[in-house]
């Protein structure tokens, strides 16, 4: 069992500093699964490209969930895809984070009422950390979502475990 799997009971200065260091390390290199579902993925690619430069926040697309920290659910989650997403999420190493990007993966979006094949929100299969609204969201919106996620990771605690 690893040192990081332990739950610390008292928050002394060593734990606090180690926690700051770990959180900083985690939030500065959020490698994402290169995984796109629909038109939101185009915006995600635009965010990765030079104009918006996802890399300056340490987000690098990885070809395998084994090497990834976050998964950006970018687009319509069909029922068929939902089981695959679930497995990809399960195969990522802990700690792992999820950004749900766009209305479709937030809540079903335009397929909310009559989309017989669409999952009404990806949070029905995996726990989402940050929801980015929009149809599709602009790259700025995705960047804002990432900043929110970084804020969340920065406030994580080794005493009260969340991930």
């Amino acid at each position: 069992m690893g040192f990081l799997d332990k739950e610390f009971t008292d928050g002394n200065i060593v734990v606090a500093k180690a926690e700051d260091l770990l959180n900083w390390a985690r939030l500065s290199s959020l490698w994402q699964v290169s995984f796109g579902l629909a038109c939101c993925a185009i915006e995600m690619m635009a965010t990765s490209a030079s104009h918006y430069d996802f890399d300056r926040f340490g987000v690098i697309p990885r070809p395998s969930p084994r090497q990834a920290d976050i998964i950006i659910i970018s687009g319509t989650v069909t029922l068929k895809m939902a089981t695959r997403i679930k497995r990809l999420y399960e195969q990522m190493p802990d700690p792992k984070y999820i950004i749900s990007m766009g209305s479709c993966s937030n809540c079903g979006g335009p397929y909310w009422e009559h989309g017989y094949h669409v999952l009404k929100g990806v949070d029905r299969v995996i726990p989402v950390d940050v929801y980015v609204p929009g149809c599709p969201p602009r790259p700025e919106a995705l960047l804002e979502g990432l900043l929110k996620l970084q804020e969340k990771i920065r406030n994580e605690s080794m005493i009260k475990k969340t991930a």
Partner: protein
């Protein structure tokens, strides 16, 4: 006193110790939460099916072998090309003999037809108008 090889040996030793130390340190602190799903083979989210120990076509073996020959050739020729002027005619002749040997090997491959990627003959499906349903003939050679 350390020889030059001794210094290189210390470098190699340090590299090995460093790698072992880092891997062990990472094992000490990292979260380890293996699950059934996590330990499964990664197949882009699909169910892994069948054994990966399948038979490869023998043609790949020939290509790999030929590649190896040229690979070794490049590895040996680049240092030779850098220094052959210092060795005069002898160095040039040695390199030339090496090249001739490999050239003979290549001529042999060429003659044997190993550079040819033999494509299987696939017959286009033929349609029989009188019987209605399109009839697809069985391929003669498996692809």
């Amino acid at each position: 006193m350390l020889t030059e090889f001794g210094k290189a040996f210390i470098f190699i030793l340090m590299a090995i110790i460093f790698v072992i130390g880092i891997v062990y340190f990472a094992k000490l602190i990292r979260p380890a939460r293996p699950t059934h799903e996590k330990l499964k083979t990664y197949e882009c989210g699909e169910n892994p099916e069948g054994s990966p120990w399948i038979k490869f076509n023998i043609r790949f073996y020939v290509v790999a072998l030929i590649f190896l020959i040229f690979d070794v050739e490049v590895v040996l020729l680049i240092p030779w090309a850098l220094v052959y002027k210092d060795f005069g005619l002898t160095g040039f002749l040695i390199g030339g003999i090496f090249l001739v040997l490999l050239g003979l090997g290549m001529a042999y491959e060429w003659r044997k037809g190993d550079l040819q990627w033999e494509k299987p003959k696939v017959l286009p499906p033929s349609f029989n108008k009188t019987k209605g349903a399109p009839k697809v003939e069985k391929e003669l050679v498996e692809v």
